[in-house]
């Protein structure tokens, strides 16, 4: 048990994976001497050398494309995309190659690659540095999509992501990088599992990444108003842990999904559709969605207006309870 930040939780997770398996190779822009713009890879090049912590040319398609080649040679590349908005030049390689090579080869080839993406807003950044693009990848068969929300999960989930033979998009909630928490001795659940992080009886809040903390705060505030909210940290966005989600939804009968991404075709849409398909008679209210608006991520002075916060979550809870 040790206390550390979410960022350092990933650092120690990467370090553990690299120590365990010499074929784990980190690739990305500025991840070497600089340790990455968020310092997540700090110290790793010094300890593991330039062949295992690679400062690549500035070209995301090139990074993911060559990582595929390394994976085909038996390596396990862990790619850092510097900011969420910079993953798109690599989109083609991710959806047409990384996601499909295993199936294309009838199983003879594996692409055990992890693509780490610092995600979301709330840090006052300029354009393209605050996006939440998980829906694109979750909609893509062949990929697994994970989102961690605590130092503990950061440490363990990155290792699970590296260990699985499937390619993983690994989201790190950048505005929680500096949040501290304890890292325990064991993962909080298997790859793909969600976790009830606060039990409650009136309404279920479904969240992941940066919004888990917001939902926990909302649940705390709601308690003072006499409402008991359950908070589920999805942890895996593809596949979803439908059983955990369903069990909670059945218990409370009311669900609010919270994410930073625009709601239109965001994860909330899938969760809503799935819940109405699988728990139609058990829902007392429609699944409500709290998310970013359907606009490009705004300039930072407006991000507080854009991002779901405690008040907007509680507003949705009230609307749900009103049904």
């Amino acid at each position: 048990m040790s206390t550390t930040t979410l960022a350092k939780g990933i650092t120690t997770g990467l370090r553990a994976a690299m120590e365990k398996d010499s074929r784990v190779v980190l690739m990305g822009e500025d991840i070497g001497k600089l340790g990455g713009v968020f310092r997540v890879t700090e110290g790793l090049q010094k300890d593991f050398g330039e062949d295992r912590v690679v400062d690549t040319p500035l070209a995301e398609a090139g990074i993911v494309g060559t990582a595929i080649g390394l994976a085909l040679r038996g390596y396990r590349p862990v790619v850092e995309i510097q900011f969420d908005g910079f993953v798109y030049p690599a989109f083609d390689h991710i959806v047409s190659q990384v996601a499909k090579l295993h199936a294309r080869s009838l199983g003879s080839v594996r692409v055990p690659m992890v693509i780490r993406i610092p995600v979301g807003g709330g840090i006052g950044a300029v354009e393209h540095h605050s996006e939440s693009n998980e829906a694109y990848f979750a909609h893509t068969a062949g990929l697994r999509v994970l989102a961690c929300s605590t130092p503990h999960d950061a440490h363990w989930m990155i290792q699970q992501a590296i260990e699985t033979d499937d390619p993983v998009i690994f989201y790190e909630p950048k505005r929680r990088y500096w949040d501290k928490g304890e890292v325990g001795e064991e993962p909080a659940g298997a790859l793909g599992s969600a976790r009830v992080v606060r039990e409650g009886t009136d309404v279920t809040l479904l969240a992941y990444g940066p919004m888990v903390k917001t939902c926990l705060q909302a649940a705390q505030a709601a308690q003072e108003d006499g409402h008991s909210l359950e908070v589920v940290d999805l942890r895996s966005l593809s596949p979803l842990d439908e059983e955990t989600v369903l069990a909670s939804a059945r218990r409370t009968g009311r669900v609010v999904v919270v994410h930073e991404a625009p709601t239109f075709l965001g994860l909330g849409a899938e969760l809503s559709a799935m819940l109405s398909e699988r728990a139609f008679y058990e829902l007392e209210a429609p699944v409500l969605r709290v998310g970013g608006y359907n606009v490009p991520y705004p300039p930072s002075r407006l991000e507080d207006d854009f991002l779901p916060d405690l008040d907007r979550v509680l507003d949705a809870v009230d609307r749900s309870l009103a049904y």
């Binding site: 040319p57 090139g62 040679r73 083609d92 080869s105 062949g142």
Partner: protein
């Protein structure tokens, strides 16, 4: 497109970047230009080349005959596949007609431990690597997206997304470097990677990025561009203002143009480039100047965009004819040999046809296989649903 444009600006600046060329048989630009390496003229005459001749001379009579056999057999295979497509047995076929020498010459320059990353047209390279050609038909027949294990013969899957494989090859070569399989001096160990792509592909950002990564890492990869003059309906001029082999220099490594219809020249140039890669001298860009004699694929209609006179000109440069002439005049092979190869080709055609027709359609559940390497709830649920749904029809039929 002319190979010898003069740079007005640089000249204006007093900087003369005009490339100086060593002596090579003079040749007009539309035939590949003066820099194109050629060891056999279209008439089958041997052109001396002091640096490359030793590589060719090291080939045994059997190897020299083998190149011819490869050329003929792969052309026959290709013709059979085209016929199978016409008869509805394949959904599509991408013919290599005219590019046999580029593929066989380069394919035979590979060592067993080397790795090849093809486009969708490298049937000749697959053949040289020992991939059963019937396996190449699977994706065109629509029974799979790639019918062989890439690690079995070190021949990777066909890649349809133009240019993507050049990055995969480069990354693979970076892996070879990490494995220490470069520059050891052990000919069984030192490994090179070859990436195939077309003239059209040269425009894709991926390909340029591959040149960047390979250059920066000095990786053991050969970029083998088959310039068959056309990207579907678009001629070279729509893709590039400079000859393609010029591209490499600006990324920090050498480029070379070779007559892609001259199997000896392609062999020698590629062998040298691969050897440089294995020794740790880094990448090379080889432009094999050739011609797509047929349609882009069986779906294409080239009469819409190119004149038959052009095709006629290239017929005179046929890679098989020219090599056959040289084999004959040099006394390397005789009529009996040629006949035997013909017979073997007939047999190959028959066998390929037979085995193609025998290819079973996969079961519908196959689409759920290998989407993920590890258990996945959505795939599992959908697979179960699908199986039950299919069964419900069979019950209905049974009733």
């Amino acid at each position: 497109m002319s190979d010898d444009e003069v740079a007005p600006l640089e000249t204006a600046f007093g900087v003369d970047h005009h490339v100086t060329h060593a002596e090579l048989p003079d040749r007009p630009a539309h035939e590949g230009g003066p820099d194109m390496v050629q060891l056999l003229t279209p008439e089958g005459e041997r052109v001396a080349h002091p640096e490359l001749d030793p590589l060719v001379e090291a080939l045994s009579r059997e190897e020299l005959q083998g190149l011819y056999r490869d050329l003929v057999l792969i052309r026959r295979f290709d013709a059979e596949a085209t016929a199978l497509q016409r008869q509805g047995e394949l959904g599509l076929w991408a013919s290599l007609l005219g590019q046999e020498a580029a593929q066989v010459g380069s394919g035979r320059a590979l060592r067993p431990q080397d790795h090849a990353f093809p486009t969708y047209r490298e049937h000749g390279v697959a053949w040289c690597r020992g991939v059963d050609p019937v396996n190449l038909l699977g994706m065109f027949r629509g029974v799979n997206h790639g019918g062989w294990d890439p690690d079995e013969k070190n021949f990777h899957l066909y890649t349809i997304i133009i240019g993507a494989q050049t990055l995969h090859a480069t990354g693979y070569a970076m892996g070879v470097q990490r494995d220490g399989d470069v520059g050891t001096g052990d000919p069984q160990r030192d490994t090179a990677v070859i990436a195939y792509f077309g003239d059209g592909a040269s425009s894709q950002g991926d390909v340029s990025e591959a040149l960047v990564f390979a250059g920066v890492n000095n990786s053991p990869v050969v970029f083998f561009c088959q310039n068959n003059q056309w990207a579907i309906s678009e001629p070279n001029e729509k893709q590039t203002r400079a000859p393609l082999w010029h591209r490499a220099r600006g990324f920090g490594f050498p480029g070379i143009r070779v007559d892609g219809n001259d199997v000896l020249a392609v062999y020698a140039v590629t062998a040298q480039a691969l050897e440089n890669a294995r020794c740790g001298q880094g990448p090379t860009f080889v432009e094999a100047y050739t011609y797509r004699m047929g349609a882009h694929t069986t779906s294409d209609d080239p009469t819409k965009y190119r004149v038959s006179a052009e095709v006629e000109v290239w017929k005179h440069r046929d890679p098989i004819e020219r090599y056959k002439r040289w084999l004959t005049t040099s006394g390397t092979a005789d009529a009996a040999f040629f006949e035997a190869v013909e017979a073997e080709a007939d047999e190959l055609g028959r066998s390929v046809r037979e085995r193609c027709l025998a290819m079973p359609d996969p079961d519908g559940t196959a689409m759920f296989d290998h989407v993920y390497a590890e258990a996945h709830p959505v795939t599992a649920r959908e697979r179960a649903w699908f199986t039950e749904y299919q069964a419900s029809f069979e019950q209905e039929v049974a009733r």
